[in-house]
């Protein structure tokens, strides 16, 4: 007994002494910076930085592998403290907050069964994906709330998580733990460049809006008297709400679920109401703007698309300069659309709002005469966005101007080419010619090019080999003629130096359409593009050869948009109109493509490739929807049908006198008609309590 005590005690003492000695003998110097950084970090071990815990991140920061601002939980104060330890400047970082994506709690949504099990979403998820009919509905068991290391989440009365943005640090723990992927991190910048995907809760109106305005949300805000909030919601996707309020064809109203009961909600008049509210208050409601990042971007073309691009670039922190050939900005909005439909003071107000965001405008500067994209890149612009869009003002301003006026030599628009041929002009195409195929122009054009002296003509077609028109199928004969056909291929980028096109990148289209194709590079002298208007192009400096003199900059273009699965919009020259992101048939379409161009620019400067969108909602064939609504009372629409404005005359539709718009009580009444739809949920009459936006 005593022996046992003595032996165990002795053993303990001996081992203790050994360890104490060893810790002296084997002492390893640890960088005190690591300890200081670890001290500064919050110690929540949330993993938001991408490292297993705070100490791992501290070591990584000191080793230079992680940024001082990598701690999302700590925010700017912690970043500044770490930066002080490390002796470096801290870069600005936009705050991200958790954003729950579901708006109808378990009480209100349609259920498949009643769940009475373990109080955890991950457990509930195992039973057929949860109790809700909606596959992307919040299960409301609060797994995210319990997971939040900062106590920023709580469960609202409607069983949906509520984020306290004062406490939320954007660590992303909730995003990682939610089995339904409903709660996601979001920031103002992210929402600008985002596109809706199939597995997101969207209302029919929201999906049919070309610009993707969160319509249920802004109407909800109007309903609650938050007009400025509504305006900010709209401006996340559409910088010209008042112009749209006047001339938008409002496809959203056709999609409105109220069509199943009575008349659609007057969505566009409601948008115009908040925009009118801003204009009559004589100010511009300024949305969130990211910190300046010192990147100068030139936007060529001051129409709706160029205005949108420069507006969102400014909001993302870039410094855009807008180049316009005409004396005033506005493009089609100013020079084509009649004043009866769109009063000019409305246009001026909206353009002023865009300039106020930090956009510099240079009017009466003409591409091809005063500058070219190549010269702008040499002039310290980091990127050049070409949005010459719907009207080609170069021709209108200077009818005497000869040539094609392309952004660089080697790009030919089919229309210009045929016009010049018609006038009997001699055109030097060079030896290698590539034709971007559209259905009507193929072999004939290729033969014309051969007659004009081209050695080899390549027709690049998006169609599968099996879908090619018959005259392009016999490759052997064509090859003997010096004509090559590349099916299932798209042009992914252009490359050149100064004002000359040199090479193009070709990418094969994956037959299943869910992977990146193989890229190859082709040296070309001329690229013939099958449209009448210049495509949207984004030029950036090619930095592969930094020793080259800065005067002769090499440039390449970015891919403007990419989606999966079908890949119809991949490549530089993408649908809907061959070669263009937008067909300029409505201002909202130009706004959408302007915003997508921002996405291309922003992803280029933050990552390398345009991130593909897997299940873009506009392209998806199947999206969950409802075909009938129940328990909804019919309510009268506040805005009379457009034909009743000026009696029953058809001309009311063609030249409607500017309609004075909804007044405030009418707008509030109209906003209450909105069903605040989600994917399959909507506001039912018996159950009007506890809705959130």
């Amino acid at each position: 007994m005593v022996g046992g005590f003595l032996v165990m005690g002795g053993l303990g003492v001996a081992i203790g002494l050994c360890l104490a000695l060893a810790s002296k003998v084997f002492y390893v110097y640890v960088d005190p910076k690591i300890e200081a950084v670890e001290e500064a970090l919050p110690g929540a071990n949330c993993g938001g930085c991408g490292y297993p815990g705070c100490s791992a991140n501290a070591a990584a920061i000191v080793a230079g592998q992680s940024s001082p601002s990598s701690c999302v939980a700590g925010g700017p104060e912690v970043a500044a403290e770490i930066a002080a330890v490390m002796g470096v400047e801290v870069e600005a970082r936009e705050p991200e907050f958790a954003l729950p994506g579901c708006r109808y709690g378990v009480q209100e949504a349609d259920l498949k069964y009643l769940y009475e099990g373990i109080h955890d979403c991950r457990a509930a998820m195992l039973l057929g994906g949860g109790a809700k009919e909606c596959p992307i509905g919040c299960l409301g068991l609060g797994t995210c709330v319990r997971a939040c290391p900062f106590g920023a989440l709580s469960m609202g009365p409607d069983n949906l998580p509520v984020v306290n943005t004062d406490l939320c640090t954007g660590c992303g723990t909730c995003e990682r733990i939610c089995p339904k992927h409903i709660i996601t991190l979001s920031s103002a910048s992210l929402r600008i460049i985002d596109e809706y995907q199939v597995d997101e809760c969207t209302a029919p109106c929201q999906r049919s809006c070309p610009t993707g305005i969160n319509i249920p949300r802004f109407i909800y805000q109007i309903d609650h008297g938050n007009y400025e909030g509504a305006l900010l919601t709209i401006k996340e996707k559409c910088p010209l709400p008042l112009i749209c309020g006047y001339i938008c064809p409002a496809p959203c109203e056709l999609a409105c679920r109220r069509n199943l009961i009575d008349e659609p909600v007057a969505i566009n008049p409601l948008k115009r109401f908040v925009a009118d509210y801003e204009m009559s208050a004589g100010k511009h409601v300024d949305p969130y703007k990211a910190e300046d990042n010192d990147r100068k971007i030139a936007v060529i073309g001051g129409g709706a698309e160029g205005l949108t691009t420069s507006y969102y670039l400014a909001r993302l922190g870039y410094q855009p300069t807008l180049f316009e050939a005409k004396p005033e900005l506005g493009g089609i909005l100013r020079y084509v659309i009649s004043e009866d439909r769109l009063p000019r003071e409305v246009l001026d107000h909206e353009i002023q709002g865009i300039l106020n965001m930090g956009v510099t405008a240079k009017t009466q500067t003409v591409m091809g005469e005063d500058f070219t994209p190549g010269s702008l890149l040499s002039d310290d612009y980091d990127a050049v966005v070409l949005t010459s869009g719907g009207i080609d003002s170069r021709k209108i301003l200077r009818p005497e101007a000869k040539g094609f006026g392309p952004p660089f030599q080697g790009l030919f628009l089919l229309l210009d080419l045929y016009n010049a041929l018609d006038r009997g002009e001699k055109i030097d195409l060079g030896e290698e010619v590539v034709i971007v195929h559209n259905l009507s122009e193929g072999l004939g054009l290729a033969r014309t090019c051969r007659e004009m002296g081209a050695k080899r003509v390549t027709i690049v077609s998006k169609l599968d080999a099996g879908d090619l028109p018959p005259e392009l199928v016999d490759t052997a004969t064509l090859h003997a003629e010096g004509i090559q056909v590349l099916p299932s291929t798209t042009v992914s980028f252009l490359e050149g130096t100064g004002n000359h096109l040199e090479r193009i990148g070709l990418e094969t289209i994956d037959p299943r359409g869910d992977e990146f194709g193989e890229t190859s590079i082709l040296n070309v002298d001329a690229l013939i593009f099958p449209g009448a208007r210049l495509p949207e192009l984004v030029f950036v400096r090619e930095e592969r050869n930094p020793e080259a003199p800065s005067q002769i900059r090499r440039w390449r273009t970015l891919e403007t948009f990419r989606t999966f699965p079908k890949g119809t919009q991949n490549g530089v020259f993408s649908s809907p109109e061959p070669g263009r992101l937008s067909d300029s048939s409505a201002v909202v379409k130009s706004i959408l493509s302007g915003r997508r161009l921002c996405r291309a620019v922003h992803t280029h400067f933050t990552e390398e490739r345009v991130a593909p969108i897997d299940n873009l909602v506009w392209e998806a064939d199947a999206i969950l929807d409802v075909s009938e609504v129940h328990h909804v009372k019919s309510l009268e629409r506040q805005q009379p049908s457009i034909l009743d404005v000026e009696g029953d005359s058809e001309s009311a539709w063609i030249f409607p006198k500017p309609w004075p718009g909804l007044n405030e009580p009418a707008a509030r009444t109209e906003a209450q008609r909105c069903l605040n739809c989600g994917l399959i949920c909507y506001r039912k009459n018996e159950n009007e309590t506890s809705l959130k936006a």
Binding site: G4, V7, I15, L19, A22
Partner: protein
Amino acid sequence: MGDYILLIVSCIFVNNILLMQYLGNCPFLGVSKRMETATGMAMAVIFVLVMAGAITWIVNTLLLRPFGLEYLRTLAFILVIASLVQLVEMFLRKSIPALYAGLGIFLPLITTNCAVMGVCLINIKEEYGFVQALIASFSYAVGFGLALILFAGVRERILLARVPKPLQDTSIGLVTAGMISLAFFAFKGMV
């Protein structure tokens, strides 16, 4: 010599510590998701087990048995193994930083590993001599590593397979472990 070979085969295959004796199942399931971590763990176990086998044999023979204190064996072994791992960790960190970086995070995990403890107790129970105890510890550790790496390989393949939802992750891991264990039953009766 033949005895030693028999001992090695018996420890690695027939009495495999993981699959036949069911000791050390936490790391077996915990670190077998990736081949890289499984290999690291296997190496760390071999390293620690050989040292622990030697030290505990010495403690048992020179300290516990002479004083008739075998009833304190478990307690003493825990103490010795835990501090041994601490000591080894400090030593490696100072002297062989590359090995420390490789084994680093696995060493503290082994402190409370029942496989290590189990092998030390088996050594005493079987009344091995010092050399036999060393060889047995090494072979058991190799058997541990073998089973772990085999299992990690299978689990990496399972990642690519379509597993029914309720069976995913640990569930299918346990099923697989059971099957590998059954396969090892084929060695029964060999030695």
